[in-house]
């Protein structure tokens, strides 16, 4: 289920392993804003474990990805093992287990978009960003393009996401204009 970039290929800008954040600087240090945010979220649930998905989101917002060190830290904060945390991280497609491009572009290609030309939109992004292949990061480190399953905006084919921005009704013609905003 992982969308993680492959370990080989020409356009990879960075080596792809899970320890690129050494020495690791913790996210949830006492008194920090992420810690306060997590504590507030934890008050909504009867267990600390329920804070796992929100905690992982905080890590990804802060660091851009979820490293093995971060999984260990989140586990320590919530009273879970690092192995358990990794099991959860790998289940969900949206947590990056490796650094990705500055702009992470996801293009929906499930049937409803597919029959409206989504595959051409993917090709246009791969070409214009210089990524060349799905999952690879462009040589300048700016872009990573992946195909994603149904984004839930099927009447507005083709929807894409760039980081947290949701953009619908994307056609091949609109691709260069969109990329200007994410340069």
């Amino acid at each position: 289920m992982s969308h993680g970039p492959s370990a080989s290929g020409g356009a990879v800008a960075q080596p792809m392993h899970g320890h690129q954040d050494e020495p690791y600087v913790p996210v949830f240090t006492a008194g920090s804003a992420p810690r306060a945010k997590l504590d507030d979220i934890l008050s909504r649930y009867p267990t600390r474990q329920a804070g796992l998905l929100p905690a992982l989101w905080i890590v990804q917002d802060e660091r851009g990805w979820v490293s093995e060190h971060a999984m260990q830290e989140v586990g320590d904060v919530l009273g879970l093992t690092a192995a358990y945390v990794k099991g959860v991280v790998t289940f969900y497609t949206m947590y990056h287990q490796h650094p990705v491009g500055q702009y992470f572009i996801q293009v929906c290609t499930t049937s409803c978009c597919n029959c409206m030309g989504a595959e051409d939109v993917v090709k246009a992004f791969l070409e214009k960003t210089g990524c060349g292949e799905l999952g690879l990061t462009s040589a300048d480190g700016r872009y990573t393009v992946i195909e994603v399953e149904c984004l839930g905006a099927c009447g507005f084919a083709t929807p894409i996401m760039i980081n947290n921005d949701f953009i619908d009704s994307v056609s091949v013609e609109k691709v260069p204009e969109i990329l200007k905003k994410y340069a």
């Binding site: 839930g152 099927c154 996401m161």
Partner: protein, 436 residues
């Protein structure tokens, strides 16, 4: 209304009346439009009385299963001394479905009011609105509306001054279709992998955190304030077909069609008029060929069949398919059915949680076979193998994702066998686009 298009005179816009109106998003704007009248009234009413009104209205689950909502609520034992939970299923990931997204984007307070009334009706103090991780805009809008409602005392420790506690939080998913399955959704809230659980125990007995839980879809919950304001009889009267299907229903329309969008019609509306009148018919120079009427998990039907359908739970069943989530996917005569169904099978293979062997292996195997046929390397035996596989994948797993892969594929082969055989024999049909 036919958002993003203007409302069609034949629509019955109740839930969608204010789609496209940004002023409806604020608490004040929503009150001006008739919002938050039902909630204070409901909080002063006995929960069982509210359950009975909703039972009487005939409201059925809009997420896909069509289970009677009031009956589901009545499984929650009020006053059993345990904390109860309401989970709002906003994981909308079923290909073809994008109605809940618009409800949350345009009318967040409609959903909050529906959740608050329901929480009271099932004796829950805490509601989690589980929104799929990709819905960044609906999440931001819902968070803002919840902050507003809390600040105004509409929800919170003393909701509307009633002395009752109604806490409500957004829980963001992280990318997994299967979390729309209610038990997987509860696991995801608990901080687990989103694997569905074996039932029983059913959620009303042991749900999220092991406590009695009700899971309802966004559209179902959004309908609740309207039922309380206007009465069960009013809701029941919106029925043009089977008396077992009542109320208005939002249908999301996508694919090869002139006006894709969301349309709200009474249950039992003629599908032919819906397709050609409301949705504007096919694209110029094309003809409709096949329709998946209830999100990608239901069987595909031909346009000739679709033109006879009455749009309600029973009407779709008559033609061997289902109303499902109301996500209408339209393919026209320029599309290759084998290619589209192969893409759909790939979706299920990608989204299988891999817990059950039949699903993990079956969805992947089916995808391989279909992609082989599309590539012109299939055999006639492949078609038989797909049916055999489907038999082993249906009704034999913890959840229905496995069944959902076989349903559109097998119905597609049955109805469009010629297209598959043309690819296998090497004689590609001239009326069908040649797959890449």
């Amino acid at each position: 209304m036919g958002y993003p298009h203007k409302s069609h005179p034949r629509e019955t816009p109740i839930l969608s009346k204010y789609f496209g109106d940004p002023e409806a998003r604020t608490l004040e704007g929503w009150k001006v439009r008739g919002g938050y009248k039902a909630l204070p009234m409901a909080l002063a009413t006995d929960p069982v009385a509210i359950q009975n009104i909703v039972k009487e209205s005939g409201l059925r689950g809009r997420g896909g299963a069509g289970f009677p909502t009031g009956l589901k609520w009545s499984f929650m034992k009020i006053g059993d001394g345990k904390p109860h939970y309401l989970c709002c299923n906003a994981d909308e990931s079923e290909p073809g479905t994008f109605k809940d997204r618009e409800i949350m984007r345009w009318t967040p307070h409609q959903l909050i009011e529906g959740c608050a009334i329901t929480a009271h009706a099932i004796g829950a103090e805490t509601t989690y609105i589980y929104i799929r991780g990709e819905f960044t805009e609906p999440i931001a809008i819902m968070e803002k509306a919840l902050d507003e409602a809390r600040a105004a005392g509409v929800i919170g420790p003393n909701a509307c001054g009633s002395g009752k506690t109604i806490n409500m939080w957004v829980h963001r998913g992280a990318g997994a279709y299967i979390c729309g399955e209610e038990t997987a959704l509860m696991n995801s809230i608990e901080g687990r992998r989103g694997n569905p659980r074996i039932k029983p125990p059913f959620p009303a007995v042991a749900g999220v955190f092991g406590m009695p839980t009700t899971v309802n879809n966004v559209e179902t919950l959004a309908a609740v304030p309207h039922i309380l304001n206007n009465g069960a009889e009013w809701y029941k009267a919106m029925c043009l077909g089977s008396p077992k299907s009542t109320g208005s229903k939002l249908f999301s329309v996508c694919g090869n069609v002139a006006r894709p969008g969301n349309y709200e019609v009474p249950m039992g509306f003629p599908f032919k008029d819906f397709l050609y009148d409301l949705c504007g018919g096919p694209l110029p120079g094309r003809k409709f060929k096949a329709i998946i009427p209830g999100g990608s998990s239901v069987p595909v039907i031909t346009i000739e069949e679709a033109e006879q359908v009455k749009m309600d739970y029973e009407g779709f069943m008559e033609f061997g398919t289902m109303l499902g989530s109301g996500g209408v996917i339209i393919f026209d005569d320029a599309q290759s059915m084998p290619r589209q169904l192969a893409r759909l099978a790939r979706f299920y293979a990608h989204e299988s949680c891999a817990q059950c062997t039949q699903c993990r292996e079956g969805t992947a195997w089916m995808t391989k076979i279909l992609e082989r046929i599309v590539a012109g390397q299939g055999t006639y035996e492949d078609l038989d193998t797909i049916f055999e596989l489907t038999e082993n994948m249906t009704g034999k797993t913890i959840c229905v994702l496995s069944d959902s892969c076989g349903a559109p594929v097998c119905s597609g082969i049955t109805r469009f066998r010629g297209e598959f055989e043309a690819l296998i024999s090497g004689k590609r049909s001239s009326t069908v686009a040649v797959p890449a």
